[in-house]
Amino acid sequence: MRHVAVLLGLLLTLALTLLAFGLPVLESLGHLWEGALGDKFAIHRTLVKACPLMIAGLGMVVAWRGGMFNIGGEGQLLVGASAGAITYQLLHRVEGPGLTALVLAACCAAGAAWAGIAALLYTKRGVNVVISTILLNFVAIQVVSYLVRGPLQTPGEAIPQTTPLPESAMFLRLDPQSSLHTGLFLAPVLAVLIHVWLKLTASGFQLRLVGQNPSAARAARIPVARTQVLALTVSGALCGLAGGVEYVGVSGYLFDGFSPGWGYLSIAVALLGSLEAWGVLLSGLYFGALLAGSRNLEAFGGAPSAFVYAVQGVAVIAFVALQQWSRRRVERAAS
């Protein structure tokens, strides 16, 4: 029942946002539907777009459950993909799945390290995580810009991008005609792992307790700072992996604008998935569909893809407002 309400609410916000921009609602919804779910290729596109959103969204769940407001998914994702590209550059003798594994490991490690900077600044110097992770996003954009124009640029190539990975090191294509790749299966596997960790293990319980009430956790002798560092670095590793999956699964090379804002979108994905692992899979699919559909809408309907951000913003604000409103109502009824 609750999921039906959320879904209807999401459709309503979408329709209202279209209306607010003066776009024909039904026609635009039709374009979105066609681009996202219209045929086999559209569905593949949706799944491919949902992939980084789901993985980074899971990262957000870990951080936010631990009380660490990680807004730096974008930077962690970009640094992760950069580390993947650097690894390929250094290890070009390695081939096949071995290279894939090394590249993905580097992505995770780099994402974790980038988030680890913010974690250490918080626990050692009390620097607000929201601010530090965001500032690091802007640094990461410049790191990518430097790498693709400097040490990693394909020799003799005018376009600033890195040398594409060999086909053997890419994820397998599930359909030769679309870019649907085996990396897709990573998201549900990771979701199960995260769910089990957060809900069924002592360390996951500690993480959630630290997120909900750090002083209670401290009183219960839980190492608060260490748990916070763990939450943020695991979150960064997952965001880095999201970048790696896109690198190894879809593009195969790094370039400016590698991420269309996945890191930011994944925050909305996690919030609308009620900070639950399985919820992230669902809302990741929804926003993946919206991203895939918005390209079709842009081609036919005249609304640029920036429109997706507006829908997400409205959805996040409406969601938190409804959540708080019902919580207050319950409190009032109780008192």
């Binding site: 110097r125 620097v127 810009s145």
Partner: protein, 294 residues
């Protein structure tokens, strides 16, 4: 000499919006509200200032429109963060996404993909190579006025109480909601003026996501400035200096990757946060919802 004056002028121009937004955000944070949505509100103001200046041909109306939109955007978050007690980071993140989407969509729908080339009338400048303009003077006045208001008036004492110990403000007969609302609205005006300044006075045009993190840089400056208007203004100017270095490196084509200098303002903002260290960590009730008994 004139080159040097030009660079100083550029830095003042880059620092002006940061200083302006920092004064209002200082007041708001003193009252206990952290406006993570500052970035989005600045961006919305930048677009509306640009649009108004383009429509009316009057840059000052553009600045005014920016102030208005800044107040509207941040004011709209007030019922959520004050009355419903919603998390200020979540609401702000929603606002940022919303403003990024709305301005990007409206810009492309109105001006097309080639909209970057649209130039709008700008504010008059004087002072020769330094090219000082009236808004810079407004920035200086705002710093003094907000300091006086915060530290030399009863209202300012109440505002600080609302962010430090809201129960005390309530006991003294002040409404914490109203004080915090005033903080939010003041921050709305200043970040609106700052955003409109970016498009109307600094670049004379608009680009998608043109604020590029300046809202967050302002929040960092407020923290480093120990929540005082003069401190925040000083921190803002320091970061503006880093923005200005980009032009220096491009003008003299130094053998360093330019991306390093593009990243410098953010690195310096991070550095000042590290430097401000533990110490007194700001208003005690910052970003903590308050439930007012009626």
């Amino acid at each position: 000499m004139s080159e040097l004056l030009g660079i100083v002028g550029a830095m003042l121009s880059l620092g002006t919006p940061l200083v302006i937004a920092a004064t209002g955000e200082t007041v708001s944070e003193r009252a206990g509200v952290l406006n993570i949505g500052l970035e989005g509100a600045m961006l919305a103001a930048a677009y509306s200032g640009f649009y108004t200046s383009w429509q009316t041909g009057n840059p000052y109306l553009g600045l005014l429109a920016g102030c208005l939109v800044g107040v509207l955007v941040l004011g709209a978050t007030a019922p959520l963060v004050l009355h419903l007690g919603a998390d200020q980071v979540v609401v702000g993140t929603g606002v940022n996404l919303l403003c990024l989407g709305v301005t990007g969509t409206l810009f492309v729908m109105t001006f097309g993909r080639a909209g970057q080339l649209v130039q709008v009338p700008t504010v008059a400048s004087f002072g020769g190579d330094m090219s000082v303009n009236a808004v810079m003077l407004v920035a200086v006045v705002l710093v003094f006025v907000s300091w006086r208001l915060l530290f030399r008036t009863d209202w300012g004492r109440a505002i600080r109480a609302a962010g430090e110990m809201p129960d005390a403000a309530r006991a003294a007969g002040w409404s914490v909601y109203r004080l915090r609302l005033q903080g939010i609205l003041i921050s709305g005006v200043t970040c609106g003026l700052a955003g409109a300044y970016l498009s109307v006075a600094q670049t004379n045009s608009f680009a998608e996501n043109m604020t590029a993190g300046r809202g967050f840089v302002v929040i960092a400056a407020v923290t480093f400035g120990r929540w005082t208007p003069f401190g925040a203004a000083g921190a803002a100017l320091l970061i503006a200096f880093a923005y200005g270095l980009q032009f220096l490196i491009k003008a003299y084509s130094l053998p360093l990757p330019y991306q390093l200098f593009d990243a410098l303002p953010y690195l310096i903002a991070l550095g000042v946060l590290v430097g401000s260290g533990r110490g007194k960590a700001g208003p005690a009730a910052l970003a903590i919802p308050y439930k007012e008994q009626r």
